[in-house]
């Protein structure tokens, strides 16, 4: 039962990273695009799906609360400021979808709030992952690290890194969904973004070596974990060749694979901890009565249904986005 909910939590976070990752990424690239026609086209590639994508964040959040309340009650206070900023960022970018089309003179406001909101949410998510890897101060099941305990050079670096990662994912999504000038312009951004992501990974790795972060020791203890970075490296090579061949379809999937392998590396190197070296999965788990109640309805039946809604949604809006307006 506990393992089932760990797996579902991991799957939900991964789905969130991939789905909201590309649409936050498109949000950040949106700020670089000029011309109303291009911006509208970029927005149209994500407008029908963004709401569902963001919902996976709530899915991950409530699984954590329901199945691992101890961890939820420890991490949310530790990340008070990052969570609030992330939520406000998501609010500003979320309303922009609907408001932009209704605005006339005020459209510029929503363009800015869309980009800034996407950036703030992405950055704070990266910061939280970084702070979790680096370690936070807890005592007796309570956070004691102070209001800015999460703010370190490493966590900021992770924030910037995740922004580049999401932007890369978003760029590949645009290449997949668009045609003409917007695709060509975005395709030129991909090598730059990919190099930035690579550089970030190298810097993080070096930083970890220098600082002797506890997580790194666990990688060395478990050499089989290196299969994930290897998959990532393979995907990076495939990404490079597919970009050189001007392929529209594969880059997105290769970047998604890089994300999945990075996430797998991280998740497995945490094992068996949920908060590294503080709380294990078993210690964090809710009572059996809670896990079983969630399992026999939400987990076993509704979760597959949710995947089905997502599949139906993406199938209805599959293929290149038409140049003509659907709605706006």
């Amino acid at each position: 039962m506990v393992m089932f909910w760990v797996a579902l939590l991991a799957i939900s976070i991964l789905i969130y990273l991939l789905l909201d990752g590309f649409d936050l990424g498109v949000g950040m690239l949106f700020g670089l695009a000029d011309g109303e026609a291009r911006r509208e086209e970029m927005l149209r590639t994500i407008a029908p799906v963004w709401d569902g994508n963001e919902t996976w964040l709530v899915v991950a959040g409530v699984i954590m609360w329901g199945a691992f309340p101890v961890v939820y009650a420890m991490l949310m206070p530790a990340f008070y400021i990052p969570v609030v900023v992330m939520l406000l960022g998501l609010i500003l970018r979320g309303v922009a979808f609907e408001f932009r089309g209704k605005a006339s003179r005020s459209r510029r406001i929503w363009d800015v709030s869309f980009t800034v909101g996407s950036f703030a949410a992405s950055f704070m998510q990266g910061v939280m992952v970084g702070a979790l890897v680096e370690g936070l101060q807890f005592s007796n099941g309570e956070y004691v690290g102070g209001t800015f305990g999460w703010l370190t050079g490493f966590s900021v670096l992770c924030g910037i890194g995740l922004c580049f990662g999401y932007a890369l994912l978003g760029a590949c999504w645009l290449v997949r969904k668009c045609e003409g000038p917007i695709r060509d312009a975005t395709r030129r951004q991909i090598p730059l973004l990919a190099v930035a992501v690579l550089a970030f990974l190298v810097v993080v790795f070096t930083h970890a070596l220098v600082e002797q972060l506890p997580i790194l020791r666990r990688w060395i203890e478990r050499p089989y974990l290196f299969v994930f970075p290897l998959i990532g490296a393979g995907a990076a090579a495939m990404l490079a060749t597919s970009i050189l061949r001007h392929d529209d379809y594969w880059p997105f999937h290769m970047v998604a694979l890089i994300f999945a392998s990075a996430f797998g590396t991280l998740a497995l190197s945490f094992w068996p901890y949920m908060i590294p070296f503080v709380v294990t999965i078993e210690e964090a788990a809710a009572p059996h009565a809670s896990l079983a109640f969630m399992f026999w309805g939400a987990g076993l039946f509704v979760f597959p249904l949710m995947l089905l809604y997502v599949a139906v949604g993406y199938r209805v809006f599959r293929g290149k986005t038409a140049a003509a307006a659907d709605h706006y």
């Binding site: 409530v62 609360w65 008070y80 605005a103 809710a286 509704v302 809604y309 307006a325």
Partner: protein, 469 residues
């Protein structure tokens, strides 16, 4: 625990939840109304239903978007500001909110995209199905939230183990009497909000002598629904009062501003409660009525606030006045709905300008009733977060500082004020422009799975947008 951080966290929760409820209260009813319109259009083929559908869908989109983004905040705020509550009640509230997210949010989110963008891409029956699924999602969401909140009002089906509320009877948690009066109360409140907004829009158009055909449909449907639902709502509201009387006597006494035990009890209609002297000033009360309302008896003894220790009493003024405002709104709406329906049946409604003004100006009433109803329930629950077991002062995040709580409260107020003013302005502009540019014209021929076949819809939606600007 920092007392300033506690106060700020309470203010922040009250502010963000009050802001949030405005939108679901509207969209739950509106989603159901859209489903009815789409079904009637597909059944009867009358273009007026399609025009109204497209028109209200635009407004639904804006309101739904604001509901979604302000709702995401709620899922995380329990953890950030109320970590002790999160840890203790996580085994019960966490699974309930998981069910909400799994059964409702994903359903809404998945089919909302199809509702807004998907009409040209899916068959007509599937479009109607998607509309119904969005409506079902909003209703399920309300259900799980009411289960959750009802458990905090009347905790049941649990045992306290290792500092956590451990569920031992889920059927009791979900299928208890409290849930099944409070959920219909909230659902009907949402339908009434939708009905009054639709009717008010219709009245506004008739007053402006524009969109006469659409205005008549809106007025007729909105008022008729409200005329039927309001008596039911008043009755269910009475049942909600019964659960408060039985399970939360201190809250009940606060709502009634009853300071001392009385037998038989009088009913205070209006007064200014004074907690320093533990009495009411300028009270207007009716003898015996308090016993009738509380216990359906002429002789029953009703409990007063002084029977509870001072630290266990809720504030009195807010539940007392909020409850009276809610009931007052209910009766005003009842009068408007019945009078409007009656005059509508006699075909005299269009000439009754005064009543049309009344209906038009009544659109905030359902929201005021919902907010004051929630203030009665939540403030009346104090000083408890989980009634009788966990005090609000003990539930707050221990590590939270006043500085961090101030910063987050200021940020929430600033961002919410910003998006609220623009959101309501855009909705106002859509309503003012009306269903222009859509009337009667066939908008498109649905061609499933052919994403490129949209060209014929473009002029219609563009002219519509321009009309909105």
């Amino acid at each position: 625990m920092d007392p300033t951080a506690l106060l700020l966290s309470r203010l922040q929760f009250a502010f963000t939840i009050s802001f949030h409820i405005i939108f679901p209260a509207f969209t739950i009813g509106l989603a159901a109304w859209l489903t009815v319109l789409e079904a009637m259009h597909q059944y009867s083929g009358r273009p007026v239903y399609r025009t109204l559908f497209e028109f209200w869908l635009k407004i639904f989109g804006v309101a739904f978007g604001m509901g979604v983004v302000s709702g995401v905040v709620m899922a995380f705020q329990f953890g950030t500001n109320w970590s002790v509550l999160s840890k203790m009640s996580g085994p019960i509230q966490g699974p309930l909110l998981s069910y909400e997210t799994f059964t409702a949010f994903m359903l809404e989110a998945g089919f909302f995209g199809i509702l807004i963008f998907g009409r040209p891409r899916v068959p007509a029956w599937f479009y109607l199905f998607s509309t119904a699924m969005v409506a079902l999602g909003t209703t399920l969401s309300a259900f799980w939230i009411m289960v959750n909140n009802s458990w905090m009002q009347v905790p049941t089906g649990y045992v306290l183990q290792n500092g956590q509320f451990v569920p031992d009877d889920w059927a009791q948690i979900i299928f208890n009497r409290v849930v099944w009066v409070r959920f219909p109360h909230m659902l009907l409140a949402s339908y009434l909000t939708g009905a009054f907004c639709v009717a008010a829009t219709g009245a506004w158009y008739l007053l402006r002598r524009t969109y006469r055909a659409e205005a008549h449909v809106m007025l007729r449907m909105g008022l008729a629904l409200a005329a039927v639902l309001l008596p039911v709502q008043l009755f269910i509201g009475h049942l909600v009062g019964d659960y408060v009387h039985d399970y939360q006597p201190a809250k009940f006494a606060a709502i009634e501003a009853r300071w001392h035990d009385e037998q038989p009890a009088s009913e205070v209609l209006i007064a200014i409660p004074d907690s320093t002297t533990e009495s009411n000033r300028y009270a207007l009360s009716i003898p015996v009525l308090g016993s009738i309302i509380g216990s359906m008896s002429l002789t029953s003894k009703e409990v007063g606030l002084t029977s509870f220790a001072p630290q266990d009493r809720p504030p009195v003024a807010i539940p007392f006045f909020a409850f009276r405002i809610m009931v007052g709104c209910g009766f005003v709406m009842l009068g408007l709905a019945w009078l409007g329906t009656w005059l509508g049946l006699k075909h005299r409604l269009e000439r009754s300008r005064l009543l049309l003004w009344g209906i038009f100006l009544s659109f905030p009433l359902p929201w005021i009733a919902i907010l004051t109803g929630w203030y009665t329930a939540e403030v009346g629950r104090q000083p408890w977060t989980v009634y009788g077991v966990l005090r609000t002062a003990d539930a707050v995040t221990p590590s939270l500082t006043a500085a961090a709580a101030t910063a987050s409260l200021i940020l929430f107020v600033a961002v919410y004020a910003f998006i609220f003013s623009f959101g309501t302005y855009y909705i106002y502009r859509l309503l003012r422009a009306g269903p222009a540019g859509l009337g009667g014209k066939p908008l498109h021929v649905p061609v499933p799975n052919r994403p490129m076949s949209l060209a014929d819809q473009v002029p219609a939606s563009h002219s519509y947008l321009e009309a909105g600007e």
